[in-house]
Each structure stands twice: as C-alpha cells, then as structure tokens.
Amino acid sequence: MTAKRRAFLWQYAAIAIFAVAYLALGFLVRNSYYQLMMTLVLIWATMGLGWNMLSGYSGMISFGHAAFFGLGAYTMTIAFVKFGITPWFGIPLGMVVGVIAGVLIGIPTFRLRGHYFALAMLAYPLAMLYVFEWLGYQEVSLPMKRENPAAYMQFNDQRVYMVISMAMMVACMIVSLHVERSRFGRSLLAIKQNLPAAEAAGINATRWRMYAMMLSAAMAAAAGGIYAVILLVVTPQTVFGALTSAQALIVTLFGGVGIFWGPVIGSAILIPLAETLHAELGHILPGIQGVVYGVAIIVIILAAPDGIYWKVRDRIVVRRAASTPEAKPGLQLHIAETMPLANDAHPRRQFGAPLLELDDVSRAFGGLKAVDEVTLSVPEGMIYGIIGPNGAGKTTLFNVLNGFLAADKGSMRFAGQEIGGLKPHEVCARGVGRTFQVVRAFPRMTVLENVVIGAFVGSKTDEEAEHLAREALRRVGMADAEMHMLAGGLTTKQLRLMELARALAPRPKLLLLDETLAGLGHDELESILPIIRQVNREGVTIVIIEHTMHAMVKLADHFCVLDHGRLIASGAPAEVTKDPAVIEAYLGKKWMDRAKDQVA
C-alpha cells in the first residue's frame, strides 16, 4: 500500500468516525429543537464546503454563494409546488440548475480580479432576490403530503433529516478530500498563491476555476434544497439574502480555509452558539446571531486568519518539527560543483535549426513602445543572452513570448509553429518554460510540491508528475533534504534553483530565464552557472536575460542588445560588448563622448 493510499484511508476513517459519533449523539438527543439545530449544522457545513471549493482552494472570494443556495431551494420548491415533483428529484434538479448558473456566472466573472470579483459576486444573489420577489414568490410553503410522506421527503422524525444531511455533507467532504489531494486541488492552490506563476507553469487557470465553480455551486444548491425541505417554507430574503452568503464564508473562515474539515469545524461551533443565543436572548436582543457571526470573523481574521484548523495544526507541526533534527541545507550542489566548466572558453559549438523565431514583434503600452519591431532567431541548442539597460523591454519581450501579453504585431514561431496569441499555459505545453525576475514561488508549498505543479503539464498521472519533479530537482542539484522545506523559508539561491527546476520539470525544449542570477552573491552565482550550462548540454535551448555582464560573457553563445524596445545589436559576445551603440545605451551619451575624447 502506498503512502498516498494510506493517507486517504486515514481520512476516510476520520470522516466515518466523525459521522457515526455525530449521528449517535443526534439519536440520543430527545429534544426536537436540538435535533433541528444539529441538522442545520450539517447543512451549513455543506454550504461552507461549497464556498471552500471555490473560494478556499482557488482564492477567489465569493460573496454570492447565496445565489446557488437560493436557486437550489427555489428549484426544489417550485418543482414540488407546481409540478408535484418529489424533493428526492427536486434537490438533484436544483443542483443541476445551480451548476448551470455557476457556469453562466463564471464565464464573465472569472475575468475579474480581486475586489471586482468579490463585488460582482455580491450582486448576483441580490439581483435574483428582487427578481424572485417580483415573480411573486415572496413566501412559498411546501404542501404537506398525508399519504406516503416518505416519498416526498417528509418525516415526523427529525433524525431522518439529520441522516440525509449527514449523507450529503459526507459526500461533499469526500469530494473535497479527493480534490485537495489531486492535480485539481494542487492547481487551484497554485492559482491562489501565484496566478502568473501557475499559468507560466502550464496550468489552465480558467478551466480549473470553472470546474471548482461547478462543484461549488452544486454543493451550495444541495444545501439550499435540503434547507427548504426542512424549514418547509422559502422566502427570497432567507435563501438569497446577504447573510446567507456571509454565513457560508464565516463558517469556513472560522473553521479553516482550504481544508475540508474547516467548514465542518466552523459550523459545529458557530451554528449552535448563534442559535442558542438567539433562542435564549432573541426576544430582547433580536440581532444577536448576526453580532456573533460578525464578532467571530473579526476575531478570527485578526487572531488566526486561516481559521482554527490551521492554527491548531501549525502548533502541532511546530512542536513536531522541533523534536526532529534540522535538515542540513549545506549539503546541496555536490553534483554541480564537481562538474567541469566546459564551455568557459567558448569552444566552437554546433547549433541546430532555428527553434525560436521572432519577426517584427512589437508591443506598446499607450504611447510607450516597450518592444519595438524585434526580429531575432534562436538556433536549437544555444544559450542566447539578451542584455540591455533598465526599461529596455527585456521582461516585456518575455511576457509577450510566453503569452502574458499579446503582441500588437509581428509573428513568433516556436519549432516551426506560430505561438502568437496562445495563452501562457498553452505556450508552456508547447515546451517553453520560464522563470521570473522576482521569483514567483508558491510560498506555502514545499519545494517538491512547487515543482510538481510545474510537472503537471508534462505528465498524465500525479505519480508521473512527482517523478518528473524529483528528476528536475536532481538536475538542478537540490538535495533530498531540501525538497520538503516550505518555499516561503528558502534563501534566494534555493528559490532560484527551485524555480529553475519548476520550469524544467515538464522537460521543455526552450527555457526563458529572466535574471536568474540577480540578487546572488559571487560564489552563489559561480555555483549556478555550471547548472545552467549542464541543462543546456542536455539539449535545452536557453534564452537568458541578465544584468551581470561578466556572468553573461561566460555563459552566452550569442548576445542581443535591447534599448528602448529596439534591437540595437546582435552577435558574438566579444563583438557586441565593444559596439559603441551598446556602450552608449548602457552608459549614456555623455560617457560615450568622454570615452571618445580620451581616445582622441
């Protein structure tokens, strides 16, 4: 049995124990009010699981999950009242409606970022609220079915609802567990932690988010459907209201974001607390429930921003880590350091046919021509250096190349095929990897997990992805001990190597390195150069942007110089560095004149 299977079994066992214990407690409770409360805990936990599926995993905060909850509730209710369809079918029908709404909402709304996404999501349920009021559904009651009530999900015994809700919640927990532990969840997490890095690593953000939205909407709609069955009456305010959306978010944030236990823990604590206070004090303090929720999230965001689960877990992990010996980061690079520095002296190297060809590529920001009619050709097997002063358009050129920015004109061919207009993840899938000027890590993942994200695009199964990731880490000379360190705590050099490994993991044909050597000390720099050469010798063509001129001279086979977006020189390193135009671009005209004066 693999470690992964075992971890799954443990989680299943934990879920089963929790479910059995909860139901046992529920069956001991005689008071039907408490039974109802225990059922509501499960329903809000399900709603929270739905919210967590989208917002917890992918980081796009939704204030509008009431839209799906309400659609689930109203679909079931209208199907029942108007067409006599039993909730046994009505609830799944509501889930279908919820998923459709999720897709229709997702298509336009995923284009928005941050604030705008949250605000737009807030508008959907409120718009629906008024529409349902206008349609005349201010208050719809479910008819009582005297004959054969079980066929219409009507039971005298509250505990039956508790069992049904438990089944629903457990199903959502298991779905969440599998999402979390798979490529799906890892990709969402990568999107949450660093969207550009995820896209450059070949992750199709739009697709994964849409899947998350669909699952999320289905869960919220299921919760809404069963909620209406239990309460027997729906009003637009209760199912579409802002408090419903808020409650989904609150139970999840309180319990723990991005983990399926979170909404369950949050719901189990907050719902009984708020309900009890409401029952005890509601007649004197009518808004006490809302105040409790409000205070709960204020306290949690200030004291434990990721929720109780993570707070507790971090405590335990810290204690455990303290008792195990420290990993020694000093052991790295033994492979790299023993490697011969082969092309230090630039022996005549043979290159293949052009792998990357740019023809007349331009990109402007308003009036600023960041990249201006650049034409260049990179033969297979070469280390191609791009130099130029600050603001010359080097990084913009990379952004155009890997699809972050669209070119205004010109064509870009990679391995004979046009790559202009492709999205970043598609460019990555064609075999172009890249690193960033400022390292874009997924800070809360381990080194290995970071690299696994990059490997997804080149692999069919998760096992294969991990294999590729380990291979890439070995290629850059990272020690096994470092693989399980969190990316957030790495040194600059380790980060650079990790990012290099992430770009290498899917075995690209071309690597775009954006100032990989920046911020490194001299010794560190000297230890990374051979790694880049080794990667190149293994058949990867490299385009590298660099400021450190002496490093570049040692590394690159060919130089091109950008200035104000234009290509001003191109040729062998020794020639280019003597070109007066290049010196002028770097040092300015004044210096150029002075240099001439001194010669004269």
């Binding site: 980081g59 336009p108 284009r111 605000l119 737009a120 409120l126 009518p286 105040v291 929720y293 409000g294």
Partner: protein, 313 residues
Amino acid sequence: MDDLYWRVVDFLQAMAAGLLVGGTYGLMCVGLGIIFGVMRVVNFAHGDFMMLGMYVAFYLVTGFGTLAFLGPHVGPIVGALLAGPIVFVIGWLLHKYLIAQVTGVRVMSAEAEGHYAQIILTLGIALVLANGGLILFGSTPVSVQTPLSRESWEIGVIFFNQARTVGFVIAVLCALGLYLFLTRTNLGKALRAAADNPIAAAYVGIDVDRSHRIAFGLGVGITAVAGGLFAMSQSFQPYIGFDFVIVMYAGVVLGGMGSILGAFWGGLTIGLVQQMSTLVLPYQLQNTAIFVVFLIIVFFRPQGMFGRVWERT
C-alpha cells in the same frame, strides 16, 4: 397625442427624481471613493455607516428631539450635518483599533493576503453594525420627520420633492467642500499623496496610518451626512446598509475606483438609472437594474469613466 404628452411628463418626472436621489447617492459614493482612493480598501461596512448616519439624524431630530428647537425645516438638515462628525469619530476609532491591523503600512508588502483580510474584516464590522443596530434601534422602519418630505415645488408640470431637493443641494455643497479640502489644504494634499504612493509618502514624512485614519473617518462621515439627508425622504431600518453597498459600489466603480470627483458623477448616474428604470421595468426591479448596470460596468470598463488604468507587471 395626449398619451405622448404624458409619457414625456413621466420621463421628465423620473429624470428629476433620479437627479435628486442621485445627488445624495453621489455624496455617499464620494465617501466610499475617498476610502478606496486613499486606502485601497474595499469597505463592505460602508452601507452600515450610512445607516448609522440615518439613525444619528433620526435620534437628534425625531427620537430624542434634541434639535426640535431649530424647527421642523432646519432641524433635520442640522441633524444630517451633525451625523458627519459623530460617525467620523466612530470610524476613526474603528480604524485605529481594528482596520489598521490589516491595512496601511503593516501590509504594504503583502499583496493579495492584505485584501483578503480587509474584505473579511469589514464584512464582520458590517454584520456587527447591522445586527447591533437591530438590537439598539429595533426593526420598525422609521424616518426623520419633516414637513419638507410631503411638500413639493412645481416647475411647469414637474414636481420636485422639497426634502429631496434640499438634500440634493446640501449634498452638492458637501461634495464641493470636500473637493476643495482635498485639493487646496495641506492635509488634503497629504491624503492624496498617501493615496498615490504610500511608501514614497512615508519617506517624505507623511504619517500614512494617520492619513488613512483621517480618510476612513472622513469617508464614513461624509456618507453618514448623505444618509442623514436621505433619511428625510425615506424610511429605513438597521438592515438598509446591505442594499446600499451595491448601489454605492456601482457608483464608485462607474466613476472609476479612486477618482473622488468621478464617484460623485457615478452616484448621480446610478440615481438616474434607478429612477428611470421604473419607466420600463416593474417598480420592484429598480435595484435589479442597478445591479445589472453595475455588472456591465465591471465587465466592460472596470477602470470606470473617470479612473485611470493602473496595471502592474
């Protein structure tokens, strides 16, 4: 012929109503716009500060009758204006003890993480204010009583509700005053500097957290004044804030997030959209019309009509 005549009258009447309501919306949006412009914080509790302003005006004028000596015409106006400083203090304190924990210098480096905490924190404040309001003020809808709300001025065949017209004029004056404050005074200039580049502002000796605190107090105070003015012609209950959050954000986004003058025009436009939608849509759907307009703006012109595009690579 007669039919057409009445249609034109209806149209003009809706437009007049839209303009008058829009002026007050504009002032609310200006309040929200200052907070977003200076702090880059999405304040979900903003509608609830407006609600607080309404209740302050209500208790000063009608509830406790403190301002009864000013008479039924002047009293409500003074009440609305007094709501400003009172809510300013509440906002100041909330910023100092809660909001400053997740905004300003402290989180300047943490990009997405900061926003996340801010949105959640202000949502928590919104819940506490709205439900705390329910406990303190009760759920029965109330309004600030003034004879103005029942009287109208007639210009031709168009009616101008006096309470709304007075509200409109005062809202415009307040917005103008604020604009002058931000562009002419040193404190206003410091606020705008802190908005443009908090790090640079800190380097030239501007206390960014203090600027934020002033901006937050000012933002909620201004909106409270707008709420107080609005309370003269509209009944309200403690939950009114949530509905207005979208109305206000629609205006601010329309005007361009960060543009304070733009926020006023945005709010005015939203007022027009809301009132004129009743010409073609059922009355209950006027807020839905706002949400739809809001979504359309967000999708097609998220930088708004007056905002600049700022993109970071």
